[in-house]
């Protein structure tokens, strides 16, 4: 009973054997915990922070990538729409031009046909007039000769008369066709 032997103050003086035991025990505890346990915990904490921050970072990266892709698609879509509009406009312009061209050529064709028709009719008329002039003259002379029994063929007066007559006819015809 050492404390009792030393009196009340004895409790304030450490027993060196206990200090020794405490030092060895606490030293062992410090060695194990500070070397093998707590550094591992710090590593785990760091890994945990990394995992969380890394996850956030990955998510942010994915978000950014998605945004970029979306933007790209929007841009492509806009370009495609512009192109489509351009093509449509061009086609419309082409169609208008083609229509104009067709109309012009059709009109020209029609005019040409009309003109050709006119010319042909005129030519036919001239030919008819010419043929008729000779024939009608001959017929009339023949007829007159037969009626009056006189050979008038070749006579200048007769020819003049016939021409005069025919001119009159031609005039009448012209008046009639002009009036018509």
């Amino acid at each position: 009973m050492i404390h009792a032997a030393e009196g009340g103050a004895g409790i304030l003086f450490p027993i060196w054997q206990e200090i020794l035991v405490g030092a060895i025990a606490f030293g062992l505890l410090c060695f194990v915990l500070m070397k093998f346990v707590f550094p591992m915990m710090e590593k785990t904490f760091e890994a945990r922070v990394d995992a969380i921050e890394g996850g956030i970072e990955r998510a942010e990266r994915a978000q950014e990538e998605a945004n970029q892709t979306l933007e790209e698609y929007r841009r492509k879509l806009a370009t495609a729409q512009e192109e489509a509009a351009a093509i449509r406009d061009e086609a419309r312009a082409d169609a208008v031009a083609a229509k104009e061209e067709i109309l012009v050529s059709a009109r020209e064709e029609a005019n040409r046909i009309i003109a050709a028709g006119h010319a042909q009719v005129e030519a036919s008329r001239q030919q008819l007039v010419r043929e008729l002039r000779g024939e009608v003259g001959n017929l009339a002379v023949d007829l007159a000769g037969k009626i009056i029994g006189q050979r008038l063929a070749g006579d200048a007066d007769t020819t003049a008369t016939v021409d005069q007559f025919l001119a009159q006819i031609a005039d009448d015809t012209a008046e009639t066709s002009g009036a018509r």
């Binding site: 409790i11 450490p14 027993i15 500070m34």
Partner: protein, 270 residues
Amino acid sequence: MTDSAIVLAEGDSHFPPGIHSFDFADWFSGLSGTALTHMFTTITFVVWLSVAILIVFFLWAYRKPQIVPTKKQWMAESAYGFIRNTVAIDLMGKKDGVKFAPYLATLFLFILIMNLWAIVPGVQISPNSHIAFPALMGALSWVIYMAVGFKKHGFIGFLKLTCVPPGAPWFIYPLLIPIEFLQNLILRPITLALRLFANMFAGHLILLVFILGGFEMLNSSNFLIQGLSIFSFGMGIAMTMFELIVILLQAYVFTLLTGMYIQGSLADEH
């Protein structure tokens, strides 16, 4: 091999309890009187048991650490993280805090489990009610904060930092410097050790007073006094609850003060 409890029970002077209540006999009576006396007692056994429990628990709980912790891993991390975050990092900042957190956490856990024996049924004695263990840890704290201070500021620089508070008028210095020197460089480890020791010592005495007192009353020939012993036991139980608070608080205070002293050594000139 005799246990202290038996010795106390057999002795006729076990009530009232006194400083003899803190004497624990050697387990091997042959060692008494040799240099190895006090080496194998209930006290030292409890110290070894505390260390063994902590080592086994932490090595077992932290054998395979995972990012998503298991329950036992979470418990181990919480024990360390409590001191790491609320004491070390709060006081010293992230960088220095993480550096000193392992020692502070070990210190806290060691004191805590040593204190806890004060209310463990069948043991009910904390090794910290022997001055040797608080003194050892107080001295270690002193060595650490002095070493940190000398390393950071140099010998003279650290003495100046701790003993010469700036801003005081010059004529007060002859009074102030010795006081600061005594307080910061000499008394700190002693107050650390005494605070813990005295709390555990007093706690043990209080429990003894009420529990042994209860038995003393029970042994009385007076029926009324026997009946009143129930209040004594009730107080014993209540004081055990109170003791639990003291146990937690003292372990925390010792660690917190050690952390503050180290932080003071790390601090720049104020």
